[in-house]
């Protein structure tokens, strides 16, 4: 159901359909009609001009659907809405173009369904064909031209800048180049106004793009700039680069959605595209409300203003869920092309895969593992491939980082979606049920996660002045593994049976977990942690551990060291603000002083 490659002849993908011969009545017998309806699978009579992935409007309510198979003179359509009441004999209207979405600056701050139809203003309940009535937001945007009339421009070049919280640009569309014959003056313009004419073609702020076609770029760049997520467990141990890919597998109750929401709120990207794909309605309501209330620490605006929310909850039509991840990727690429760093969050890709499975099963495709279609792996791979750090057509750099949640059934990591996804991503943040059960959040497992970006990013951190970054990460990882190993032993023989250094190692594991890695999403001071604060906390804990080891090495009994009250260090992540390091150093010094007294 996914395609790659170039969009058809022009940017809207429009092709010409043969005209209906004059004199044909509107309900003429030769117009395409519905033959069969089985839930979202609809068979229609198919004129020879209909192409794969063309959009088709079905029945009197004009329900959107997409052509997924053509066999002889019939076509199979996947409907994106509830098809109740649709009957053989009803009309089908092929649109002669693939499923496309309207891209415009006003997507920022908006909430949309899986086909990018605005959800604001369509009523309390969603009925089939309903969201089409939601009108796009056509407020005026301040425009400043950056080219002169008569200048030659190529695809992707900047025509002008748009005043918004996020720096937006008007670009020459991907398939266009030539002379700027006209450009609008500085001032406010609605998004459907023509702002420039290039090579005789109108250029507007809003444009249409087929969702299954990745937008073209000049070339891919290596992903080597860190994305600071503000979550210590991630930034410290399993960092991700801008333009990279992450999967977040976790059983229910492991805090997957909470972690993704934290990243949506606090990571240092320019634009967030949040795709709630087959997830909870109350949770979507919550995230929408919170984003509208929270302040963006970098711009001072509302967090909602840098966010595009695509809400396709689990009870909304399943097939629109299938489209929603592609819709999200298209929106992300649209902002990337303006030279922005975009994070695309998809929660949850498993629900998307289930939609693929559901439809494949209705199509009678031969199933592979657990009923999923044989093409599952390639479709997952194609989705994650839409992530990249790029040189845009216009020469700017931009990126799309993809973070996909995975919901393994029964927590079984060998199931197809999890197993395939792990192969395609550069980072894996595996959420652990035992950690979550112990209320250790975020429950990112240090033994089951990985980051293939870590070595590249170590170099980036070193270049940025933090030469210790790789060493710090290595020490923390080793210490956590060692503490886990000892914890198993302690359960068998009791702590007192361990030699002093090992006893301190157990203490060290606890300190790292509680003082540095755990993070309280509900605390204003701790919800977000700047790179400086993260480094300070880890340094403080490591210094204290070193001191404890020195003490036992010098003959002080482990009991005495364990008895020292380390509370100030444990509380430092809450007492220091998101960007503060001084309270962390103070806590470290207090604890070091207490240790000196114990000696």
């Amino acid at each position: 159901m996914t395609t790659s490659g170039n969009p058809s002849s022009d940017s809207s993908g429009r092709r010409t359909l043969p005209q209906i011969p004059p004199g044909t009545p509107p309900d003429g017998a030769d117009r395409p009609r519905i033959l069969r309806v089985a839930g979202p699978l609809v068979e229609i009579t198919c004129p020879p001009t209909v192409a794969m992935h063309d959009l088709v409007m079905l029945g009197g309510a004009r329900l959107p659907g997409e052509v997924v198979a053509i066999h002889g003179d019939t076509a199979t359509v996947e409907a994106y809405e509830y098809t109740g009441g649709l009957a053989p004999g009803h009309l089908a209207e092929p649109q002669g173009r693939p499923l496309s979405v309207r891209l415009a600056p006003d997507l920022l701050g908006g909430v949309f369904d899986g086909l990018l139809r605005p959800l604001a203003g369509v009523g309390d309940l969603l009925t089939a064909g309903g969201p089409t009535t939601g009108q796009p937001d056509r407020r005026a945007w301040s425009f400043t031209p950056r080219v002169a009339e008569g200048a030659p421009v190529a695809a992707g070049d900047v025509l002008g800048e748009i005043g918004a919280g996020v720096p937006l640009r008007l670009l020459v569309p991907a398939d266009l180049s030539g002379e700027v014959t006209w450009v609008a003056g500085a001032g406010d313009h609605p998004s459907n106004a023509v702002l420039a004419v290039v090579d005789g073609q109108d250029v507007r702020l809003e444009q249409s793009w087929p969702v299954r076609s990745p937008r073209p770029v000049a070339r891919r760049l290596p992903a080597d700039v860190p994305l600071n997520t503000g979550q210590r467990a991630v930034d410290l141990l399993f960092p991700v680069a801008r333009g990279s890919t992450v999967a977040v597998p976790g059983g229910f109750g492991t805090g997957k959605t909470m972690l993704l929401q934290q990243i949506a709120k606090w990571c240092d990207a320019d634009v967030i595209v949040y795709v709630g794909c087959g997830e909870r309605g109350n949770e979507m309501a919550d995230v929408i409300e919170e984003l509208a209330e929270l302040t963006d620490p970098r711009t001072g605006g509302r967090l909602a203003e840098r966010t595009v929310t695509i809400a396709n909850t689990s009870n909304m039509p399943m097939m629109a869920r299938e489209a929603s991840v592609h819709t999200g990727a298209t929106v992300a690429e649209y902002f990337r092309d303006m030279g922005l760093d975009v994070v695309l969050i998809a929660d949850s890709t498993s629900r998307w895969a289930e939609a693929l499975r559901e439809f494949a099963s209705r199509m009678g495709e031969l199933p592979a593992e657990e009923g999923y279609p044989a093409g599952l792996a390639s479709q997952l791979a194609a989705f994650y491939e839409r992530a990249a750090a790029v040189r845009t057509l216009g020469g700017a750099t931009g990126s799309v980082t993809v973070i996909g949640a995975v919901s393994p059934p029964g927590g079984d990591r060998t199931e197809p979606v999890t197993a395939h996804t792990e192969r395609f991503v550069r980072c894996l943040w595996s959420l652990d049920r035992d950690l979550a059960y112990a209320r250790h959040y975020p429950a990112v497992s240090w033994s089951e996660s990985f980051s293939r970006d870590a070595s590249t990013l170590a170099a980036a951190h070193a270049q940025a002045g933090d030469a210790e970054w790789a060493e710090r990460r290595g020490r923390v990882a080793r210490q956590l593994a060692e503490s886990d190993r000892l914890a198993d032993l302690v359960e068998l023989v009791g702590i007192t049976a361990l030699p002093p250094r090992e006893r301190i190692s157990v203490l060290a594991g606890r300190l790292l977990r509680e003082a540095a890695i755990q993070q309280n999403a509900l605390s204003p001071a701790d919800a977000y942690s700047s790179p400086a604060k993260t480094a300070a906390l880890v340094e403080a804990v490591l210094t204290v551990i070193d001191r404890c080891l020195e003490l036992v090495d010098s003959g002080i009994p482990a009991d005495a060291v364990e008895a020292v009250d380390l509370t100030p260090l444990l509380r430092a992540r809450e007492t220091a603000g998101p960007d503060e390091t001084a309270p962390v150093s103070a806590a470290r010094d207090t604890v070091l002083a207490r240790l000196r007294e114990a000696a």
């Binding site: 649709l86 309940l125 309605g281 309501a285 929408i288 009870n315």
Partner: protein
Amino acid sequence: MTGAVGIEYTRVRDLRGPLLFVEGVSGVGWDEFATIVLDSGERRHGLVLEVDRDIAVVQVLEDTAGMSRTGTRVAFSGTPLRIPVGAGWLGRVCNGRGEPADGGPPVLGGSYAEVGGAPINPVRREPPNEAVLTGVAAVDVLTTLVRGQKLPLFSAAGLPHLELAVQIAAQATCGGDPFAVVFAGMGLTHADTAFVRHGLAARSAARELVLFLNTADDPVIERLLTPRLALTVAEHLAFGEGRHVLVVMTDMTAYAEALREVSAARGEIPARRAYPGYLYSDLASLYERCGRIRGRPGSVTILPVLTMPAGDITHPVPDLTGYITEGQIVLSGEVQAGGTYPPVDPLASLSRLMRKGTGAGRTRADHPAVAAQLIAALARSRQVRELADLIGRSALSPTDLRHLDLEDAFRHRFLAQRADEDRSLDDSLGRAWEVLLTLPRSQLGMLPADLLDAHALPQDQEAR
């Protein structure tokens, strides 16, 4: 269910499991409701699963037993199944298809609603933030049920989940606001049915209850309809009439089995444990009907009850339910074996919306801190108990021993409750304090000092 003069189609081609294939139809839409009349005059009902050219595939709710190719007539209603909705349902007891089982006349309503419901627009949802009080201490204090939430009860064979579900249905209230309970029983034994009717009779007579009961010997396919009827009635009572409605649905495992049976009859490709691949979406189409809507006074709160086959929480039904719902209340065989009712496992249970639904102005100012401290203390108690099992009680520190005392106090003073005991929140929180104060003050770090001062007993042995 409407009274149009419809054409009846009589050319039945195939009968297979619960499916009936009728040919020669025209203008029949997908998901339409059908009425089937047998030669004997018996009426049955069905839904259109597929319509291909002039053949309609109808899923017969009451099964196809006794149907033949001749003498079977099928009429289509022109719309998906719709039922009357309104306050007329209150006080009524019906079978799993919504037909009276209480000797009363058919339920009539001022308006009709489609049983499939329509998804609530995510931007129109109001995040839930007020409690439903159940009078059960373990629920009210530790896993508070919030208006608009979906919170399942995970249980296993032999545990008193039905007792607890009935107790909650009988006792639940929303302060002084208009309230109602809709109870959907699926695959219940006759003894269970009698128990439910008896336990909820008072609420029924007070016209605060709607009861739908599909028994174990009722048609299996009918179970697919029962929760949808319940939710449709509940939605109207909530969003049309401004009531807070609690919907109890038991047993969802029986529901999922019915779904599997239909899927198998249709020859669909099975996913995990032969359940259909769309089990998640199907369950979501029920559970997601809970919520609140901006600017409307009522709410729909859903309490699904499910038995985990062989106590396995990774079984698809509890697993997928857990992915959709906002927490879970888990019953434990171990607590049950200890003779405590309700046998709630406090550490495995969780209400994700509790944070917003408790505290000052919601329940009581000290509630969130008390709940968090009690859970933390119980987690420590469990560790200590495991340790004691390994190395013996004598090796435990005094603080560890106090944690064992706390666990005992928790079971006997807080958790244990009679099945007909409606405990006030103040009483429940008072008991929680009593349990917590078995620990020395130094172990109660999550409780603010002023709260501790206000609740600590004079003889609190801080000196030790």
